[in-house]
């Protein structure tokens, strides 16, 4: 992803942000769409396109759980562990998925297909316990068996053209 491409993407929205620092987040999200994470080259491109230093852009990116500074799997499974989900059994769901994927807690599968992580409230308490794939569909309420089916379905899908995370 080049700085020019990011600048082109930002051009129509620049006027919406009074403080140019606010452009960093949409720029990061757009850059992350290419590889699913933010390699150093993407971070430099964002820095160049937004006019901030790389250190500053990295500082912003590191603040957000969903900006990935390390490579992650083709799909990121976000298991909500905040109050409603936790009371309705998110620990069990998490452990079940980890078992099924052969992971020891949070992490990425050896085939690079899935990354499993705990996240804080995703605003789906009415469907607790809930899981979100990347920044897409929220699936819930979940039974362990549903999670297994979901993972099998996802495994068969081709890699997305752009990662929405």
């Amino acid at each position: 992803m080049t700085a020019d491409e990011i600048e082109e993407y930002l051009a129509p929205m620049r006027h919406e942000y009074a403080d140019p620092r606010s452009l960093i987040l949409p720029a990061l999200r757009y850059a992350q769409g290419e590889a699913g994470w933010l390699p150093p080259a993407s971070m430099s491109a964002v820095a160049e396109a937004t006019g901030f230093t790389e250190a500053y852009v990295e500082s912003v990116a590191s603040f957000y759980d969903r900006c990935y500074l390390e490579p992650v799997g083709r799909r990121v499974l976000n298991v909500c562990v905040t109050l409603s989900c936790m009371l309705r059994g998110s620990d069990e769901i998490f452990d079940h998925i980890a078992d099924y994927l052969g992971l020891d807690g949070e992490g990425t599968t050896g085939d690079g297909m899935f990354t499993l992580q705990r996240v804080q409230c995703i605003g789906a308490c009415d469907r607790a316990p809930c899981l979100q794939v990347d920044s897409g569909e929220q699936v819930g309420p979940l039974e362990p068996a549903d999670a297994t089916c979901l993972i099998d379905d996802l495994r068969d899908l081709p890699a997305p053209e752009r990662y929405e995370r």
Binding site: P40, F52, T53, E54, A55, Y56, E58, S59, S62, F63
Partner: protein, 767 residues
């Protein structure tokens, strides 16, 4: 000043009626009447308050919830309580949270004993912990750079260091990464935090998270004494504090009560970590006498008598040469000595730039560094403040952040180029920029012009035109970026840097030469000096460090350094400030003023002074620029001397030699102290030649090749750096390492000169 008239507001703090100007923050209004509101992140020098640490919560009647006193401005009839039950409970709570992950390892922490977190916890904290949960642990300490150590466990995320890096030094290196209890100070991708000002983050850190590597575990606060003094590293005159333990200088810091008219509490890393030079290998430990018996050490007391004997013969013609870093008292007493020796009066001269063509520039109204805060234009003419007077860079950046146009004119690339308007001139062609300078000055009312002594002295034509343009600009004032630390002070005493002393020596007119912290053989036209000195019967060298003269001198008198002596230095803005001795590391050495007074006593014609304070009072009475001053009036802030009246001299030096124009560069990070101090090994700048790529190509050389550089005044073989920012047709001569001669390539008046640069064949290189 164009400030609005200050509107006073009346409010009540803890039942006390307080008046404060509009815009004052509550924390300052309270401090003004002696009420302490605890703070960690608040630091006005870093810009607008950010309310990050939440320590300063106070109760304000009528406002919902508690307010941060650091970011709440005073308002009429406000009723504030800083010690009510609610406020005290909140302060307790904030401290408890700040300490939740703090390791409380005060007994092994360098900050312990002088730590705001420790002090405020005692004063405002809960007194006991309720925390049962395990604390966060990180590997520690991490080297943020070879000079700055980071302990992540102790950090309370106050953002002071990050704001310094982002908003004051503007290097953009330091940021916070992650968030919450994982938050940590870091640079992009873990590069070392290196720059010219990194040490200020240590002074700013209100906890023990950032500490000085060279000072690590060196002393505890109850074993040290702190002495306010002034840095003699460049002509900026930054106020510092010297930390001493067991008669050794252990640390230098910015002064806790900054001189806002000079450095605002910031100092550069060269100033901060130059002190190990005091214990360098080439420090002169004691007096040495060379006579019929041979070369031997003698006690200083006896050496003073020998010096007097050498100076007493009434027919002896004496010259006294003062170096680039001596106090005004030393200059004054040298003149007093000169009146008492041989065929008096002696010729008393200083090393430095004669500056004959600078009369008009020097006659312009002067300014102080804090006038930059109110300027409507900042012009930098020649030189490179970023490398030669580093803290000036911070004040220039501060002006630019206010939106003031900053224009940098000259042949050198500077660190200001990226953020300021640049008028790049060909070396030696500052005249080309005069039209642009006039245009910028046009219509300004409070322009401040920082001009480089060395560059404009080499181009008196340009200096004259610029001075005339400034003279007709309303409100325009000047600050001279002096090449020498002692220049402004000694000039005010009427001591010239004229080459007539050298000419007199060459004509056989000097029998005894006394040098005071001066080695002319390492200075401009050093070869010519070296040859001339062969004809001097007796050389008496007074110096702190071994030099090219030490082996020639009949008598060597060891001197204390500016960190060890008392005296007054005059800054480039004309501010006379006091040095106070931190330690006396060379036991066999004495201050120059002591040595000079001692010699006059042994001559049988003593000066009346017994202390530098007395010498200063006497010189102030005799020399108009210092009128009315004494050590009392200088106190901590110093005082501005009256400008010495200078007469313009229309001499126009022409560049001698042929080939590339030499652009002399004297970065403080490349100076003798930087090379003597081990601490600065990772950031010091070697003596070298810089060439533009096209010149390097022409010679068939590249970075790290060695080149021979020849001028009519001498020759040197130096390493090369190719830099695309440099001007074609010029050789940038970066000097300062005392082990590598380079300054001798310049003419005696440091005027313009051209050099022949050639590639050095491999077999020519002497290693």
């Amino acid at each position: 000043m164009a400030d609005q008239p200050r509107t006073l507001m009346t409010l009540t703090i803890n039942g006390q009626v307080v008046q404060a100007a509009k815009g004052t923050m509550l924390v300052d209004a309270a401090a003004a009447v002696g009420i302490e509101i605890p703070i960690f992140c608040y630091e006005p020098r870093l810009g607008a308050p950010i309310g990050a640490c939440r320590m300063c919560l106070v109760e304000v009647e009528g406002m919902r919830g508690l307010q941060t006193a650091c970011s709440t401005p005073v308002a009429p009839d406000m009723v504030v309580s800083t010690d009510s039950e609610v406020a005290a409970e909140a302060q307790d709570g904030v401290l408890e949270l700040l300490l939740a992950n703090h390791p409380l390892d005060c007994p092994v922490c360098d900050k312990g004993g002088e730590c705001p977190l420790q002090d405020r916890t005692f004063r405002f904290g809960p007194g006991e912990t309720r925390t049962l949960e395990p604390k966060m642990h990180f590997p520690k300490p991490l080297d943020l750079s070879p000079l700055v150590a980071l302990d992540r466990e102790r950090c309370i995320a106050c953002f002071r260091c990050v704001r310094f890096s982002q908003d004051v030094a503007e290097d953009g290196h330091l940021t916070f990464q992650e968030r919450g209890d994982h938050i940590e100070i870091a640079t992009a991708s873990g590069d070392p935090y290196e720059g010219r000002f990194t040490g200020n983050t240590i002074d700013l850190c209100p906890v023990g998270a950032l500490t000085s590597n060279p000072y690590r575990f060196v002393s505890r606060p109850w074993e040290i004494t702190n002495t306010p003094s002034v840095c003699a590293g460049c002509a900026m005159g930054c106020n510092i504090e010297i930390t001493t333990r067991d008669n050794e200088v252990k640390r230098l810091t910015g002064r806790p009560e900054p001189n806002m008219a000079v450095e605002e509490g910031w100092i550069c890393d060269r100033g901060r970590w130059g002190y190990p030079a005091l214990r360098g290998d080439d420090r002169l430990p004691g007096a040495v006498l060379v006579d019929g018996v041979g070369r031997r050490s003698v006690p200083l007391e006896r050496a003073l008598g020998v010096a007097a004997d050498m100076l007493i013969p009434h027919e002896a013609r004496v010259g006294i040469l003062l170096g680039e870093v001596v106090t005004v008292e030393t200059g004054f007493l040298a003149m007093e000595l000169g009146d008492r020796v041989g065929a008096a009066p002696a010729m008393v001269r200083r090393m430095g730039i004669p500056g004959d063509g600078l009369g008009l520039m020097r006659a312009l109204p002067g300014a102080q560094m804090d006038d930059l805060d109110h300027a409507d234009l900042v012009l930098v003419l020649g030189g490179d403040p970023c490398s030669q007077q580093p803290v000036a860079e911070l004040r220039i950046r501060k002006a630019r952040r206010r939106g003031v146009p900053v224009v940098v004119v000259g042949p050198r690339p500077t660190a200001l180029d990226a953020s300021c308007e640049v008028v790049r001139t060909a070396p030696g062609q500052m005249t080309d920029a005069v039209v642009a300078i006039r245009e910028h000055l046009d219509g300004t009312r409070r322009a401040i012009v920082l001009w480089d002594e060395a560059d404009l002295a080499a181009e008196p034509g340009a200096a004259e035109e610029i001075a005339r343009a400034m003279a007709v600009t309303e409100g325009a004032r000047a600050i001279e970026m002096c090449a020498d630390v002692s220049g402004p002070g000694l000039r005010a005493l009427g001591i010239s840097a004229d080459a007539d002393l050298l000419e007199a020596i060459e004509a056989g007119g000097i029998d005894v030469l006394v040098t005071i912290s001066a080695d002319p053989t390492a200075g401009p036209a050093g070869d010519r000096w070296a040859a001339a000195l062969d004809g001097v019967g007796t050389i008496i060298e007074m110096a702190s460090y071994r030099s090219g003269l030490t082996d020639r001198a009949a008598l060597v008198l060891p001197l204390l350094t500016p960190l060890e002596e008392e005296g007054v230095l005059v800054s480039m803005a004309g501010r006379a400030q006091r040095l106070r001795p931190g330690a006396r590391e060379a036991a066999g050495a004495a201050a120059a003023w002591e040595v000079l007074i001692g010699i006059t006593h042994r001559l049988g014609r003593p000066v009346p002074d017994r202390t530098p304070a007395q010498a200063f009072a006497r010189l102030a009475a005799r020399h108009a620029p210092f009128a009315g001053m004494d050590y009392g009036t200088l106190d901590r802030e110093g005082a501005v001397i009256a400008a010495a009246v200078a007469t313009p001299d229309p001499r126009r030096p022409e560049a001698g030699g042929e080939g590339l124009v030499i652009v002399p560069c004297t970065p403080v990070f490349g100076d003798a102290t930087a090379h003597r101090s081990d601490a600065l090994a990772s950031v010091r700048e070697p003596t070298h030649v810089g060439l533009a790529p096209v010149e390097a190509q022409r010679l068939g050389v590249r970075t790290d090749s060695r080149v021979r550089i020849t001028t009519p005044h001498g020759e040197a073989v130096l390493p090369l750096r190719v830099d695309s920012r440099l001007h074609e047709g010029a050789a940038y001569l970066v000097m300062g390492d005392p082990a590598v001669r380079a300054m001798h390539l310049l003419p005696v008046d440091r005027g313009p000169v051209r050099a022949n640069v050639t590639a050095v064949a491999r077999e020519d290189v002497v290693t």
